[in-house]
């Protein structure tokens, strides 16, 4: 099991009679780019919530590498390298981009508790934050409050925040959601630029992104995993076509 960066084993979750996760089994090998697709309501974001600790599974386990993290609190999983971004921006409105990323860096380095030294004294951390922002083309706006940034820039900041925690496994929840075509170039470049040391799982509806970046695709329907395979295999799979084409929208293109 040690070659798997992140694994879910027999994960179940229901809210009353509503089953949101049904015996989910998946295992992500180190360094691979996985896409998680499926119709709305299939349980993709729920799965991310279960894996990051925002929801507790009714049964089953989550493994990060060799370690069983099912009982750990969200911030503890982040410390071990399991990080997510949000489908709807969850940022710090009145903090500047630089402040937000610097905060993430400081929390990672466990120096956020210090109240007797000035932030400006932590040159390494500020530089690191600035470098992350530069790599995502956000350096020119790094002093603007988050709420004044364009939506595409905010999506990039979401990724910047996640990168600041030095993830080993990164879960991106619809990174391109709501980003207009003109602004998505930087976003795609950012995702392409993610280091090969990081294992990435991203939920997406944008098939262009999926086929461009994913080396493997997982398809979820109704809370369970339907199938998994390479993009070519998935594109050819009849069941997957039925799930999408049967509803009359979102035809798969390869």
């Amino acid at each position: 099991m040690s070659d798997s960066a992140l694994a879910a084993r027999g994960v179940n979750k229901s809210f009353g009679s509503l089953v949101v996760a049904s015996d989910v089994e998946l295992s992500l090998p180190q360094g691979v780019r996985y896409a998680l697709i499926g119709p709305n309501g299939a349980g993709k974001t729920t799965l991310i919530n279960l894996m990051t600790g925002m929801l507790r599974p009714d049964s089953g386990c989550i493994f990060l590498g060799d370690e069983d993290i099912t009982e750990l609190a969200p911030e503890q999983r982040v410390r071990r390298g399991l990080v997510r971004t949000y489908q709807i921006n969850s940022l710090f409105p009145r903090l500047t981009a630089l402040e937000s990323v610097t905060l993430a860096v400081c929390e990672r380095r466990r120096i956020a508790r210090t109240f007797w030294r000035q932030l400006t004294a932590y040159r390494h951390e500020i530089d690191e934050a600035h470098d992350i922002l530069s790599a995502l083309t956000l350096a020119p706006v790094c002093h603007r409050p988050t709420r004044e940034l364009a939506y595409g820039q905010q999506r990039l900041l979401e990724i910047a925040l996640a990168l600041a925690t030095r993830p080993k496994v990164l879960l991106l929840d619809e990174p391109a959601a709501g980003v207009p075509r003109e602004e998505s170039k930087e976003l795609f470049a950012a995702i392409a630029g993610l280091s090969r040391d990081i294992t990435v799982l991203f939920i997406e509806h944008d098939m262009e992104l999926v086929f461009r970046f994913a080396s493997r695709i997982i398809v979820m329907v109704g809370g369970g995993v339907l199938t998994e395979g390479t993009p070519a295999e998935i594109a050819a799979d009849e069941r997957v076509r039925a799930v999408y084409l049967g509803k009359g929208h979102g035809a798969l293109r390869s």
């Binding site: 410390r79 007797w116 020119p140």
Partner: protein, 329 residues
């Protein structure tokens, strides 16, 4: 794009934390009552003490976003600790101040375990309930607190064995102001530290903080304890300079007043509590001849006006004005 972003991140952050001319002017102005209006030094003392109390709440409410309607509990504990120390024979002010701060801080630490776990209405009710509970307990324990009449027999020794408390209030004001300034320096340092940034992160988006690995629970406990300690110091100042302590020191009235002061001045800006204290206490003094009912009428109107027109208080309004003026030029 301003010149600041061209200057680089370090220079920008340093410029943010630098002492502004307005701040220096403010602190120089606090020395004026000693020279210009010596008749009002007793009032000025009250302002300094209220300002310190409001500052302590600002750290909790303004910077961390924790709504507390029972903050006077810590002020009262500080006041009674300092008062009781004196009544029991130890009237040395500086050590009394420290011990009172520690006592209030200890209570803050213990209650922070409860406070940190709740949000919204539950949090408001718990802070309110704890405050009311302490008020009732203090009322019942009249053998200790002196009940309705308050503590009798407080006698504060001269500060540093040299400066005795005079009738005019020179010593009282100088002492209060000095304590306020020193604590303010510490608070300012905290606000511009990594911890200060984390607090603002909690205020801006408490849900996101665990997702970047932040131990939110622990941060809240820390700032709540610090805020309680500073409130206790303010309470001790009151006990020592006025040589009286009564139940109103930890009453709901005082908790509500300090929230009003902070909001009127502008929360989350360090100086908001101080400005609010000046406005509130001076106004209360001006209208002290008035029927208490009318006082509450005007305070009520003030609250409604502030919430509707100036939600970020006086300092927020000034900041907005400055922004508009800069945009025009």
């Amino acid at each position: 794009m301003t010149s600041a972003s061209v200057a680089g991140p370090h220079a920008y952050l340093q410029a943010q934390a630098r002492w502004r001319r307005g701040e220096i002017a403010f602190w120089l102005a606090t020395l004026l009552p000693l020279v210009l209006t010596p008749d009002y030094l007793v009032l000025a003392s009250q302002v300094a003490i209220a300002g310190l109390f409001a500052l302590s709440l600002d750290l909790i409410l303004g910077f961390s976003g924790i709504i507390s309607l029972g903050h006077a509990a810590y002020f009262g504990v500080g006041a009674y600790t300092a008062g009781l120390l004196s009544v029991w024979g130890w009237g040395e002010p500086l050590t009394g101040l420290l011990i009172a701060g520690l006592a209030a801080g200890l209570l803050g630490y213990v209650t922070s375990f409860i406070i940190a776990r709740f949000h919204h209405l539950a949090l408001i009710m718990i802070t309110l309930g704890l405050g009311l509970l302490l008020q009732e307990a203090a009322n019942s324990a009249s053998w200790l607190t002196g009940g309705f009449d308050g503590l009798q027999g407080i006698n504060t020794w001269p500060i540093l064995q040299k400066f005795d408390f005079d009738l005019y209030g020179y010593t009282a004001y100088s002492y209060s102001l000095a304590v306020l300034f020193i604590v303010f320096l510490a608070a300012r340092r905290l606000v511009y530290s990594p911890f200060g940034l984390a607090l603002r992160g909690i205020r801006e988006n408490g849900q996101r903080m665990p997702a970047i690995g932040a131990p939110v629970y622990s941060h809240i406990r820390t700032i709540y304890t610090i805020g309680a300690m500073i409130a206790g110091i303010a309470g001790a100042l009151l006990a020592q300079t006025t040589e009286t302590v009564s139940l109103e020191a930890l009453g709901f009235q005082r908790s509500a007043d300090v929230v009003v002061m902070l909001i009127v001045g502008g929360a989350g800006r360090l100086y908001g509590g101080l400005i609010g204290a000046i406005v509130y206490i001076v106004a209360r003094d001006r209208f002290s001849g008035l029927n208490p009912q009318y006082w509450y009428f005007w305070i009520g109107l003030l609250l409604i006006a502030v919430v509707m027109l100036l939600p970020n208080g006086i300092l927020g309004g000034l900041a907005l004005l400055a922004q508009r003026l800069r945009a025009k030029s």
